[in-house]
Symmetry: C2
Amino acid sequence: MKKLIFVFSLIFSFSTFAQKDDSLQIRNMFDAALVKGHAYENLRSLCKDVGARLSGSPEADKAVEWAKELLESYQFDTVWLMPVKVPHWVRGDIEEAGINGVPMSIKTLGGSVSSKGKIESEVVEVQDFEELAELGEKAIKGKIVFFNRAFDRRLISTGQAYGGCVNQRWGGASEAAEFGAVGVFVRSLSHKKDKHAHTGSMGYKEGVKKIPSVALSVEDADMLSELLKAEPNSKAYLNVNSQTLPDKDSYNVIAEITGSVEPDKIITFGGHLDSWDVGEGAHDDGAGVVHSIEALRIIKATGYTPRYTLRCVLFMNEENGNNGGKTYAAVAKEKGEIHLAALESDAGGFVPRGFTMDGTPEQIKKMQSWESLLEPYKLHIFKKGWGGVDIGPLKEQNVPLIGLRPDDQRYFDHHHSDTDVFENVHQRELELGAASFASMIYLVDKYGLGGDLKGLEKN
Amino acid sequence: MKKLIFVFSLIFSFSTFAQKDDSLQIRNMFDAALVKGHAYENLRSLCKDVGARLSGSPEADKAVEWAKELLESYQFDTVWLMPVKVPHWVRGDIEEAGINGVPMSIKTLGGSVSSKGKIESEVVEVQDFEELAELGEKAIKGKIVFFNRAFDRRLISTGQAYGGCVNQRWGGASEAAEFGAVGVFVRSLSHKKDKHAHTGSMGYKEGVKKIPSVALSVEDADMLSELLKAEPNSKAYLNVNSQTLPDKDSYNVIAEITGSVEPDKIITFGGHLDSWDVGEGAHDDGAGVVHSIEALRIIKATGYTPRYTLRCVLFMNEENGNNGGKTYAAVAKEKGEIHLAALESDAGGFVPRGFTMDGTPEQIKKMQSWESLLEPYKLHIFKKGWGGVDIGPLKEQNVPLIGLRPDDQRYFDHHHSDTDVFENVHQRELELGAASFASMIYLVDKYGLGGDLKGLEKN
């Protein structure tokens, strides 16, 4: 009996000690991020010295240089570039649309073809593809189709509201073209009623005529909808000269701290280096870029020696192709790399609320066992959910994917628009995100994620 | 055995039914706040049509009228004014300070005396009262004391950081005057480094000479501190002509829905109608005012019939005296009113994170039992803690006090400064706060709060 009590106390002391140890390490990382953190200044530099950086642009090349130099300055064990072929779509110098001669605020959607001069036609407003199909060719042929389905305000998650509308932006052009439309207006994907249109990627169905597609600002979408009720025969115009150039060479930018015990096993974490060509890509995904760099920096600065290799990956081309993410997963597969987990920050620089995981129930349970360590930092979301676009292709290698979840109420106010600038990121919120990200990386390194990787916990 | 199973199923069905019922009512209130809510437009009107509204000012009178008219427009059962005597401090038309002839951004602290002309003297920087006492009269006499203790960046809660610095603002003048100082500069209570100084209340110790006290913007506090290191004999000037006029008559503005079963028992909830005389009092406490009004509106709009009387109280004079809160509690005591609970929203219009309660362990446990109903709205803080200044005086009547807890990272960026304006409040965050507040009021009405009031749950 005495022996049993002894063993019990030993286990108890050990776990209390481990808990205290973890609390201290996490506290140290938060202090490092909050007191003399680099995240905010790094984001300022990325936004102001580099700026908007769409794949294929000179600014994207500059971002690669910027990231490489910054990572090298921190003297991590390794910094290198992974070649990635990227598409090269370019917004034109002509970008105009209006109604009855009055201009509206628009942004050409990424991937859209040129209108090849000014299109003029009546406009047909629809809420969804079903309504479009009901109207059919008779009503649509020769017209501009206006997809005006708004974010559902009842949804607490703005990401869910976005998910409920994004098919208009991605697929609206081809759906409309099948009924003979000549162009497409899409309501900007945002709750915020202002004059800033939100761009984003769109694609064309094989075998369907390619017609130009542009986003209207929410204010102009509401205005147009009202106007069409009063004057259904109003004449719109649309003139954009965007183009798609040949693919270009670019890079994922990667830095590592080599694992001290099992260097062949990797924990990958990152954000995407490219952005849309408007605003400064501050929240999307400058925040994820500096979260990732800062996480590696503060893990190192606090003197923590990782068991596994910690790899920070700044992916290229998330916005219009995800070639960085696809290439990364293909290379990992080819090399036979073992990834214990992949983490992504691509949901903005707002106050962190927790993490979602695309993994097995056991892995999710493991993550949830750390909740009490992160509760002092007001993190409370630890559940099944989305990992991230860039890390998504690792899924087929059974890698558990973890997404940082900042608060999302303001995210789509700025997403893909002129207002996604440094000034709209809050210093402490950004810093708290970086420290939260670092804490999750630390815990995965220290305890593994169970499931198939159970053996790793024996440490 | 069969009978037992039957009883068990009955209990189970009942509680499942109740849970479903509650979920639906809460969902309906969120929908009412988010889809066609009034909170944002009401806040716009309070900020723009009334503006800053310090107790005793014509704007505070206008705010009383504004609130009464608005509450009457919603046709609640009762709307009335409760007389409150308030102090009447007035910022002067002269408000200037500088160093070596260069002006700094300042705000006279509320309650400060006039400098009666321009004071000129050297400046002694201290971090706290202990350092001040160590320096003593020899170093301080005839000088301006500069309290420069900054917010502790390591603290996750900005409210805690504020709590660690606020004694400089409240008591700095008398502490310094005891050693012969002629004036006081206080570093603004904020993390945010900008040119906007943050005002707030201060007081004088009986029997100590009253000297003027002003807040410096964080940017100027940092500048002054640097300058004093290089040039310790720099000459500062200070000139303010604020004054305290005779007390004035004002009002708490109150609206009720009468309870359907026990109308004599009251659930009080509110925010404060007064604000500082800078900015527009948007977060502090315009948000609390419109949260409270909106909560009563959506409870009524969703057709819920409260068991107890729901009383929305817009308190006057929280900022510099709390006479509204004190008067309210005194009147309640005099009338022998029974308050089941008092709730306050006075922590800004940011995304709601939950509630803190100043109550018994049983009452806190009761509140925590509702957590799963509010988790879909991302509320996660349900713990012991602060209620609110206005409802504070009800504490001695053993009323459990509940404070709405919005996210606090941005709160002190704007608190008591020129930037606390409507434009810095986010529509959905404000609306989510109103619906959260309404949900807690609903749950307290439906289930009571246990403890001494246990009998109330028998419903």
